[in-house]
Point group: D2
């Protein structure tokens, strides 16, 4: 029995573990004020081409979304997101718990377009009752999306332009960003993100780290006292250097992208194998997630081979499942699964 339930089933990349072991007995100050965090920040900012930006190292994705969004919004504001956005569905109401509404825009592939955002805000401002409603105060998108799809550079540029037009920040959830950056079909780099977003984060948890998300604020000072808000949200790791060491390792010798590339390539092999065997690929996602709509028979067979995530139901009632590869996925495991399909 194999396991492709998610991309956070294994521990940390061996180089990270090695660094943790090597530095274990050192004594450093807490809360991210240590040299490893400083080094990680510097390398991340260099990779993003924004040397004078800010980097904050948090622990997990839901936490990061809630903390950033709370810090960016004023009480009367909400955040625009896709109906399938992680913050809209699978974060247990963390955004609402911080006092803000998620304003959803329908989507078919997990993406929202600049046009849709523009329409939304135009309609809002044209509404006679707009000041009795939640002001759209920022835009949240995920790269890759919850369906593994990607925003192209042109699409992100358009989103960024719309956000600037309406003077609201653009925030990119990069919980799986490595797999986007590593996708052959992506034309978006870290430098593009730093140019186009007001805040984005580089996911560690799902891309090689034991845990950790690196929030990048390309233009310093956007969020005053963010450290204190992070602390308040319970997102400040006491032994902060654990985050520094992990991101420092991931941003040395392009490790972050290199290990993601392998995951994307294995996912691609698996996706094509499904297709070749007559399975219906559900979302055309060029990253590390494979979505398949299963007939009852296919479902029964697949359950004998591997575990996976149950995603949703098709209109005609078939189960859509997700299989995820990761930096740790072994070629031989994919081979075996393909052979048994």
């Amino acid at each position: 029995m194999q396991h492709f339930d998610s991309d956070y089933m294994e521990g940390a990349h061996p180089l990270i573990l090695e660094a943790l072991v090597r530095t274990n007995m050192e004594k450093t100050a807490g809360y991210g004020t240590d040299p490893y965090c400083a080094s990680a920040r510097e390398k991340i900012l260099a990779a993003c081409g924004v040397e004078d930006g800010e980097v904050h190292l948090l622990i997990g994705g839901t936490q990061t979304n809630a903390t950033v969004i709370k810090a960016l919004l004023r009480p009367y504001e909400g955040v625009i997101a896709a109906t399938t956005g992680h913050i809209a569905l699978h974060e247990a109401g963390a955004i609402e718990a911080s006092g803000h509404k998620v304003l959803t825009i329908p989507t078919v592939d997990g993406k929202i377009s600049a046009e849709a955002v523009d329409e939304y805000i135009k309609a809002f401002r044209a509404d006679e009752a707009w000041d009795h409603m939640v002001w759209p105060g920022m835009v949240y998108v995920s790269q890759p999306t919850e369906y593994g799809t990607l925003y192209s550079k042109a699409e992100l540029e358009a989103l960024s332009e719309v956000c600037h037009k309406w003077e609201i920040p653009l925030f990119v959830d990069g919980a799986r960003l490595g797999y986007a950056l590593a996708s052959a079909e992506s034309d978006v780099t870290l430098r593009d993100l730093a140019r186009l977003c007001d805040v984005f984060y580089i996911g560690g948890t799902k891309c090689g780290a034991m845990f950790g998300e690196a929030v990048v604020i390309p233009r310093k000072g956007l969020i005053p006292h963010f450290f204190t808000t992070i602390k308040q949200q319970g997102a400040l790791l006491a032994k902060g250097r654990m985050l520094g060491i992990q991101f420092d390792t991931l941003f040395t010798d392009d490790l972050y992208i290199n290990i993601a590339r392998q995951a994307v390539s294995e996912a691609s092999r698996l996706r094509e194998a499904f297709r070749a065997k007559g399975y219906e690929i559900y979302a055309e996602s060029p990253t590390n997630q494979v979505f398949v709509a299963l007939s009852a028979e296919q479902e029964a067979h697949l359950r004998t081979l591997t575990t996976f995530s149950e995603w949703e139901r098709t209109a005609d009632g078939r189960l859509v499942v997700r299989l995820a590869t990761s930096w740790a996925t072994r070629t031989e495991d994919i081979d075996e699964l393909i052979n048994n399909l």
Copy 2:
């Protein structure tokens, strides 16, 4: 230059690191549903003598306090704590951010007595305007306290009795619990805590783990859907087994208490050395923290020897500093510091 700023300066206990390395490439389900978490829970409950209780593994202390308190209180309720309690001062308003007031009781040594709690609630209920005020809905104490002092079993029993009398839960913050359990002056065991508290937690971050706090709910079902509230608070680790492995290791062969005992003993040696050299011990704390009120001369000298935390000022303006030992403190480092005092 030595460093005794805090008890979270080093990484994880070597046995924990070893376990993380050994299990690193295994694949397990996320969010604490793996066998390591199951084993850790079982061992913790056994150590507490409440086999049918609940254990939830969270990441850090501020997060744990905010999550537990939010889950226990209703909107009209607040939490009673010492004015020096961690939630009252050093958590950046995390309790208030979840909508609740911290109702403080003055203290000299970081402790609050059952009598003081009883008086507080009696006065509240006798107040003509009580229903315009925040209802005291639970009691929060730290063991050891923020001043390293300890509640005796009799004191905890009295607190527990007062809480039952007023029908509100008693919550013990055990961020440094190991150092309390290991103190020669303590007569409180995990079983006592499980008997007397409604919720308490066993701190990992400051007591041998890389991170992690194990929340124990001795009587199952006190908090419905706590998992979802943990998720909402951003306190649910995706690779949850990292927490399971750490606590499983700490609760194997009494590691948790054994490594704390060494820290307490080194702190004790250091405290007595300070005293012998004419320094004023500020709080009589029998755990791993040493509080010293320094003359200007003493301060200048100590700064040449070690780093420490600045705690507060005495009434006559002298600096009070805290030096903390930990499970990782080496005897030779304490020797050296003592020799140089």
Copy 3:
């Protein structure tokens, strides 16, 4: 130029004003502890057939919704509502500001069916990831709805049954309840509401009062310390007797329903006149609101006759407007408008 923008354009019913004037210089205790509030409560409970229930007098609708919902939900819970529900759209995020998500169910006529609620909850509980999502913790409906439509007794019974089945409370927003009770097409009485709901409120602001909403909790004790939560939400009127006097008057000699009946009848005349003149009636609402989809020409003409609320756009871009009558609408004004249509 006439004005049918809303049902809160005039002051209070003359009998209410008279009572306010008559009692003005009396001295009573504050916060609803006076004899007028006691009398109003008694009369309301008698009208609802639940003598031992609770009544709380608040000031406005958004405030009442936020206060009741906050008091009923636990942190991990949200409230099910129609996508067009007032709390979902036009309360500026008040529910989210109290920490809770509004879980919306699509609707065409402003209503949600018991089946839709049942489906929603079933799907939620069947979802593999349910415990990462907001638990549906109560159901909110408006009677009449935001489109002036009505739940029948059978529909409310079905909703109540579904709520009991899933053990969650049913809350009815009755901001315009008078116009529902007074509608010839309604078979729902106050006694039915008291039997079927866990909480509901009887709107004063839009039904004859200067302001005020009477929250009825048919079974006492559902919400502990509700007084304090009301105070916390800023919904407790210092000179509480102003609310008591108003509701006492409205619940004397059936004033509440009698004055609503006239409003419904005038709305009905207006609706039929629109239809007779070839206007498209947009929602078949049997209460005091008239929704009309206008051609450009009709819009231009109507604008010369009266002011109204702009509601939304039809699929083909025409403006839908709402005209509202109230207890204060004069027959001659409706006559004049009809003649000029």
Copy 4:
């Protein structure tokens, strides 16, 4: 038996009632967009000497405090107040419910000095752990205070200066402002408040109105989209003109101050009578509140004459009571009480 429990025992000033009656059947737009609100705003701004400022009309004090403070603070900030401040004690945790901590400064007479605020902020910023603590983000004072005492112009100027020095807003709760402005011992005018505060409000509820608090923002634009935040907090009255009419009346021909002057003068007579009869005056308050510390015998006697508020206990256990006059207090009632003392 007489009643001096509070200054909100009667209804509205007769001129207000008259205006409400006179305008009752007019039709106006809702939510404060009517001509009466416009006129009230204009008159208030003229009285404050800030024609281009903003005025927002809310309903009650707790609501106003919570709404203003929430709108002014960012998530990491709290509000400095006296330990006896209304927001710190008697608003059921409304500030905390909006996510913010009340940072208290001890006081003896209900006031906090500029020096104390300066010390507080200096100590905060000097604290090694400041960024783990709640940032002091604004200052709240009441004029008159909860003990009926007054800030002098010099004291307010000093507070304003400290706030500017630290770049945080100064907010004055004027729930009883009329009685301060009308006090012979006060040298503070509305123009002074407009010059020295960033936000303050002119209380209606306790000073002649049926309800209503007029928030003045002397320098326009301080709080973006305040209307929406007011709506979100449930503080927006649908029939907003009821507020406009009341404040328009109060700010015509100096009614607001004239009626307060009578209340202050009666309170002064009563205070001196208590003193002459050997009662201990507890707080030297020159406004409409009289605080008396009673011996057991005095308490027994006073209970036969009038109702009052129980305030607190003296160190030696005697009851401190408060008697409040208002704009509606009759000279003959005070005479009678004095005669019977």
